[in-house]
Amino acid sequence: MNTDSTRRNARREFLLAAGGIAAGIALESAAAPPPIRAAASRAAASAEATQQAIRKITGAAPVNKGKVRLELPELVDNGNAVPLAVRVESPMTPTDYVKAIHVFTQKNPLPDVASFRLGPRAGRASVATRIRLADTQTVIAICELSDGSFWSGSADVVVTIAACLEEI
C-alpha cells in the first residue's frame, strides 16, 4: 500500500513536469515567431500585382494568347536556379520581328523576372536564362512584336524547394 502510493506520486510528478515543459515550449514559440515565417507571408506578389506589372508593359493594348513558347521543367527540385527558355514564332525580318520579351511570375515576392530587348539582328527569337521560383506557380512570358501587338505564353511549374527562404 505504502509503496503503491509513492509510485503513484512519482508518476504524477513526472507527468506534471512533462506538461510544464510542453507548455513552456508552446509559449516560447508563440511569443517569438521565427522571422522566416513573417518574411514568407509578406512575400508573394498577388495575381493582381502580376496583372499590374503586365499592364505597365502593355498599356491598354490587348494581349493575345499564342506565338510564345515558354520552356520550363514541370517539376523543379530547387527553386534557386530554374532553367527557362522563351521562344517566339517570328520570321525575325527587318519588318516583322520581336522587339521584347518580358517574363513574370505570380507568387514570387516581385512579379517581374526579366525583360529582354532584341531586334531583327537576333536571327531567331529565342532567349534562355536561369530564374528563382518561390513557390509552385504559373510563369508568364509576354512578347512585343514590331507591329505593336502583344502575345503571351505560360507554363505551370511545381517547386519542391523554394528560393529565397533560407536564413544566412
Binding site: 522571422p35 522566416i36 518574411a39 512575400a43 534557386n80 536556379a81 530554374v82 527558355a85 511570375t105 514570387n108 515576392p109 516581385l110 517581374d112 523576372v113 526579366a114 525583360s115 529582354f116 530587348r117 532584341l118 531586334g119 539582328r121 537576333a122 536571327g123 531567331r124 529565342s126 532567349v127 534562355a128 536564362t129 536561369r130 530564374i131 528563382r132 521560383l133 528560393a163 529565397c164 527562404l165 533560407e166 536564413e167 544566412i168
Partner: protein, 106 residues
C-alpha cells in the same frame, strides 16, 4: 579569375545565326532574405545587361531579383562581320563589368 565568361563560336560564316552565352559571377542577393536575427540583407543584384557587336547594341536585358545567382543569359545574333562582341553588366552598388570576345566571320 574571370568574373564573367562569354561563350560563342570563334568563327562563323556570314549570315549564320550564332548563339551567345554570357555568364557573370555575381551573388544576386534578392533583398528578401534575412539573417538569423531577422535583419533584412540589402539587395545587391545586376540590374541590366547589354551586348554590342562592333559597337552596335544587339541585345539588352533588365534583370530583377528573380534571376538566379551567377546570371546566365543565352541569345542569338546573325554573324555579319569580323570584330568584337562586348557584354556589359551593371548593377547595384556601382557594379559594372565589361568583357569582350573576338569573332572572325568568313
Amino acid at each position: 579569375m574571370a568574373r564573367a565568361i562569354i561563350n560563342l563560336p570563334a568563327s562563323a560564316k556570314r549570315g549564320e545565326i550564332i548563339e551567345i552565352k554570357a555568364l557573370a559571377a555575381h551573388e544576386m542577393e534578392t533583398g528578401f532574405r534575412r539573417t538569423q536575427y531577422g535583419a533584412v540583407i540589402p539587395r545587391d543584384i545586376i540590374t541590366s545587361f547589354a551586348c554590342t557587336y562592333n559597337g552596335v547594341e544587339i541585345f539588352s536585358a533588365d534583370l530583377h531579383p528573380a534571376i538566379a545567382a551567377n546570371p546566365y543569359l543565352a541569345f542569338s545574333t546573325i554573324a555579319t562581320e569580323s570584330g568584337t562582341i562586348a557584354c556589359t553588366w551593371t548593377g547595384d552598388n556601382g557594379y559594372s563589368l565589361t568583357e569582350s570576345v573576338a569573332i572572325s566571320v568568313a
